[in-house]
Amino acid sequence: MSDLSIRELLSQLVGEGYAIPEGNLEQAREFLRDESKASSPWYVRLFTGFSAWIAAIFLIMFLFLANVLNDDVGILAIGMFFIVIAVALNRSDLRNDFISQLGLALGLAGQVLAIYGLGSIFEDSFLVPLLIILGEIALIMVYKKPPSTLPFDVDNHWDDPFRTLRPRCG
């Protein structure tokens, strides 16, 4: 890796004759500042993911012990409810560490409950996996908020999670 900063990289590109729209620089700075706040090293993500799993398992155990989950449709409904809350939290503007951690735990617990509910309602080895796959794809599509809040024009293909799999042309 070279030690060029983003600024030096951009000025070298300008020097080589590539067109860099200056007007977008300030917005890019703001966006990157948010982004650097959001990204964490892998061990921190491992830690938060692990804690979220434990929290989700405790939550599910609580629901079973408190006799909230007594029929299959109810389990599915509660699972879906948790997933909806998780997506809403993850897409909301007031994202902080607590909200995202809560969303992660609720999302995990919701998926476990929804999958369990689906499995015991339909008891079908073809239909259930199919529904799970379709449901997870739908979840991936809606989970992240597209950065359409950027104050300048962006070709919005953020809501297409498979774009990296397609060959880029041009």
Partner: protein, 338 residues
């Protein structure tokens, strides 16, 4: 300016450069060029360097495992002098490039590493031929002692780590086979061994020895050193009132756990930044605190509520830890840019 350094002065990752392109700051040609200039997309020379080291290390590892399996498979059909001679010849063959390349280059270091590993094979074969009834800790201990000189001169991190693993194995087998009693004295010794190695490593690194720069080895050393403190502390939180365990060392381990946590958190947040150490330390503390809370709640008999509390507790604590880590990291950025 709030929030520390200007993000434009940071070194871009691949994700950052792709984001610049998403924001129409770079068109597709500029993106290609940016990936190349920043070194995110490796050029020919870097690919060559990478493949060189990769193939070298893989070749060394396959050669050594080939040697091990060769002896296991052809055991019956070779005379014992032939086996020992072959292994000694192997050591000699491996040492020659190490001596020729003067340990300045990776080839020399890897060759010395191969020789060090074959010494282990030689000891194992010797032990199989002459069944002396020796304990297996002796194999690891003698192995470690015999290669100690090579390790000292190698300036090669993986070889040092292998050596420390050998010492750990000797200690543990010695304890299991000779002492027999699995008590906290073993925890104390493992802590002393790995924690001591970590301390020496950091002190030597701080004094400017260049090849000690890599961070994975001190991090790897910290895991067993801290783990052997977490385990007794957890036992203490679970069983303190029941008098279940009356190991006289238990209070010592708990105090060591508290002292080590405090020291690690101070050193790696104030003297040098290492978020990995802080994360592991926080995870250990969280485990202890939550065990204590769960036990206190659980013994009073409201089980379902306890589970809900634990769930909320884990979410809250993880969020707290992440925001604290972020604060530490931002304070460092501000300190370095200001």
């Amino acid at each position: 300016m709030e929030g520390g350094a200007d993000p434009l002065d940071t070194i871009p990752t691949k994700a950052t450069i792709l984001q610049l392109a998403e924001m129409k700051l770079l068109n597709s040609e500029a993106l290609e060029r940016a990936l190349k200039i920043s070194g995110v997309r490796p050029d020919r020379a870097r690919w060559r360097g990478f493949l060189d080291s990769l193939l070298l290390v893989l070749a060394a590892l396959f050669t050594v495992s080939g040697v091990f399996f060769f002896f296991a498979f052809n055991w019956a059909s070779m005379h014992r002098f032939f086996k020992l001679g072959l292994l000694q010849a192997g050591i000699f063959v491996a040492v020659v490039p190490a001596a020729r390349d003067k340990l300045e280059r990776l080839t020399g270091k890897v060759a010395l590493g191969v020789a060090a590993l074959i010494v282990g094979a030689l000891l194992a074969v010797y032990g199989q031929i002459y069944q002396t009834g020796a304990d297996s800790y002796e194999l690891f201990l003698y192995w470690a002692l015999l290669i100690a000189g090579w390790v000292l001169i190698s300036r090669f991190t993986p070889l040092w780590m292998i050596w420390i693993i050998l010492l750990n194995l000797s200690l543990e087998f010695f304890w299991i086979q000779i002492v027999g009693d699995l008590d906290f004295r073993l925890n104390l010794l493992i802590f002393a061994l790995n924690g001591g190695a970590l301390l020496v490593w950091e002190l030597a690194d701080a004094s400017g020895i260049e090849w000690l720069e890599s961070r994975w080895s001190p991090r790897l050393l910290f895991l067993p050193a801290f783990g052997v403190l977490v385990e007794p502390t957890m036992e203490w939180t679970l069983f303190q009132e029941l008098g279940y365990r009356s190991d006289p060392l238990l209070p010592v381990m708990v105090l060591l756990f508290i002292g080590t946590s405090a020291m690690v958190m101070y050193i790696y947040s104030q003297i040098r930044l290492d978020l990995f150490m802080l994360t592991v330390c926080a995870a250990g503390l969280m485990l202890i605190i939550d065990t204590w809370i769960a036990r206190s709640l659980g013994t009073r008999g409201f089980e379902a509520a306890t589970l809900l509390c634990m769930s909320a507790l884990f979410i809250g604590e993880a969020a707290l830890v992440v925001s604290l880590l972020r604060r530490v990291s931002r304070a460092w950025e501000a300190r370095e840019s200001g």
